[in-house]
Point group: none
Chain length 194, copies 4
DNA sequence: TATGAATGAGTCTTCATTCAT
DNA sequence: AATGAATGAAGACTCATTCAT
């Protein structure tokens, strides 16, 4: 299976990118981690950059599908928020390294390299899903009317994705537990109701 | 004032580091932005790394002082949280570039370079301030008893600092407004109380 | 004089390119010949390719000027041929290495690299000068009517430029002597008139 | 027929070498053009260099035989020149790629690689045939007495072989026509006799 | 005969840093 | 204080070649 080998190598590369940052990662580090010589990676991939590309686009494709499934279910705003958050933490669980890379590198990649233009597209698409849901929630009286929607969106987005930087799959908390804790905080706040 | 010139150069360097990432930034880019030649920076600084060092430690010194002032005021847990968050957004307002660099680079710098060990110290110190406050809040019944304290701390910490990546000083929202919106979300949740 | 240094380095590079071929020449060989380290060349030039570019375009600019001066004199066809040939051998005398490189590399460079499109432009321009002169010569009865103009042009062109591969400036024959011998052959043939 | 396959592969290799130059040609380009994988070529040939070797020596063997046949006919100097030129253009017709490679690469191969020493031998042999014929022609009063024999030889040699760089078999001119045009130019000149 | 995967040496290029002026 | 020219180490990438299957 040629596909199998590629996937292994990409998984290895993603771990190294996530650990050291894309720029600070040398092709040799990836090769060492994968157990072959640096030059041999070029039998499988065009360049270091195209490895990054495949890692990010595989993750984004899956995330997009997940978000679309959630939106297609046409739940109420609160339930949609719950589903988007839960879906996000599941993606972090399955693509931890890719998410960490995305979090660190997406901004300047999208800004400076045409090849990574799809990162900006994805970002806008996800923003649309979130902003729409929040607005709908405010409109129907499920969310507080005094929210700054854009600011809230940023808070929510960042807190979710930044979890990739400390999350370790298989440890202590399952994605669903983290999502639940997180939703409790965001939906109802940490202050005790009086 | 040679000190004055250093500060200017460091501010320039911080902007470039924040925009491109520390590793991806070349000394030449900094020099171009500052209007001199790459080699000339070495009259003012020992190395690229020492520029980073000065930028981060200046920011952390100020942040530490801010946090200590808050804690010294011995406010209640909710008010302490409010003060810490507000102080944090003020730091972002004043040291945006440094915060963005810190957010992106602190983890691996602390882990891999002895010189940056103080980053881990600072991190632990800030964690202590937050965890203590949250615990105290739960203990005295101001915060909900079912919180996972460490998880909540991470949510709060990351969301606050990551704001440096999109915040633009002087635009739309003042630090205090952002802090207020953020506190509303975190303390009371986005869901409308019924 | 920064220009002075560049010119020296380019002259060195041209010699090495001419001796080994562009592709077979390593940047290190050029650097060795110039007495500095390979990386240091990049202080002066963007790339190995841009060295080649400068070498070729400097030569072509001069050649173009020379040809234009000849054409501007509006001599008769035979005298124009004599002047073009003499001018060509003078260029070989002054830019021997560049001519040798041009002779070996121009075709595929022009065909495969947009950057070197000007090589094709120059080729067409020179072809125009030659073809026009030959045609005029046939029309006015100075050259034989049974010539295949294009074929003759190719013979003449190639024989002139290929001389760069064996010509050594300062040795035995001056450019003018070579031109004279050459013109005798081409204009009147090697066979004795009977 | 394993020999058949080899010949096909060598013909393909020769085309690619001629188009891109030996050094700039990768084994993979040859393999692509031949419809197999790069590694598979090594079942047929020892190395890239030995492909070049076979291509050049096959051509030179044939050329040598052709020249020897001409000389063996013991024609007069003018007729010998005519025969040598015609034979040369026939070789270009049949081994266009090999001639183009020879023209471009022979000099430095002969100078730098012992394996290709036979290129220098062949060159000397051909030079002998030409120089002898020209000298004889001058001696018996068929060629002009004021010729610089060596210079004339170079003119003739280069013009003939360089035709390989533009000649396309099967197009417009047959080798015999090209030879005739060329001989007209060289023997009698392009100027109209008055 | 040919493939797929790998090797390892070498190439161009980048860049932090140095230093005489 | 700053420049201009260089160093030298390292990095991405290429490519002829090998070999088990």
């Amino acid at each position: 299976m040629p596909e199998e080998r590629r996937r292994e190598l990409l998984a290895t590369a993603a771990e190294v990118f996530a650990a050291h940052g894309y720029n600070a990662t040398t092709v040799r580090q990836i090769a060492d981690a994968a157990g072959l010589l640096a030059g041999s990676l070029y039998y499988h991939f065009d360049s270091k950059e195209s490895m990054l590309d495949e890692i990010l686009s595989a993750f984004l494709d899956e995330l997009r599908a997940g978000y679309e499934a959630v939106l297609a279910a046409r739940l109420g705003p609160r339930e949609t928020v719950e589903a988007l958050v839960t879906e996000s933490f599941r993606e972090i669980d399955r693509h931890r390294a890719a998410v960490a890379i995305y979090q660190k590198e997406a901004r300047h990649l999208a800004a400076r390299q045409p090849r990574f233009g799809y990162l900006a597209d994805a970002r806008d698409k996800f923003a649309g899903a979130w902003l729409g849901t929040l607005e709908r929630g405010v409109a129907v009286g499920v969310f507080r009317a005094d929210l700054d929607i854009r600011l809230t969106y940023r808070f929510v987005r960042d807190t979710v994705w930044v979890a990739a930087s400390w999350y370790r799959p298989g440890a202590q908390h399952s994605p669903e537990e983290i999502a639940r804790q997180y939703l409790t905080t965001v939906l109802d706040g940490i202050a005790l109701r009086n």
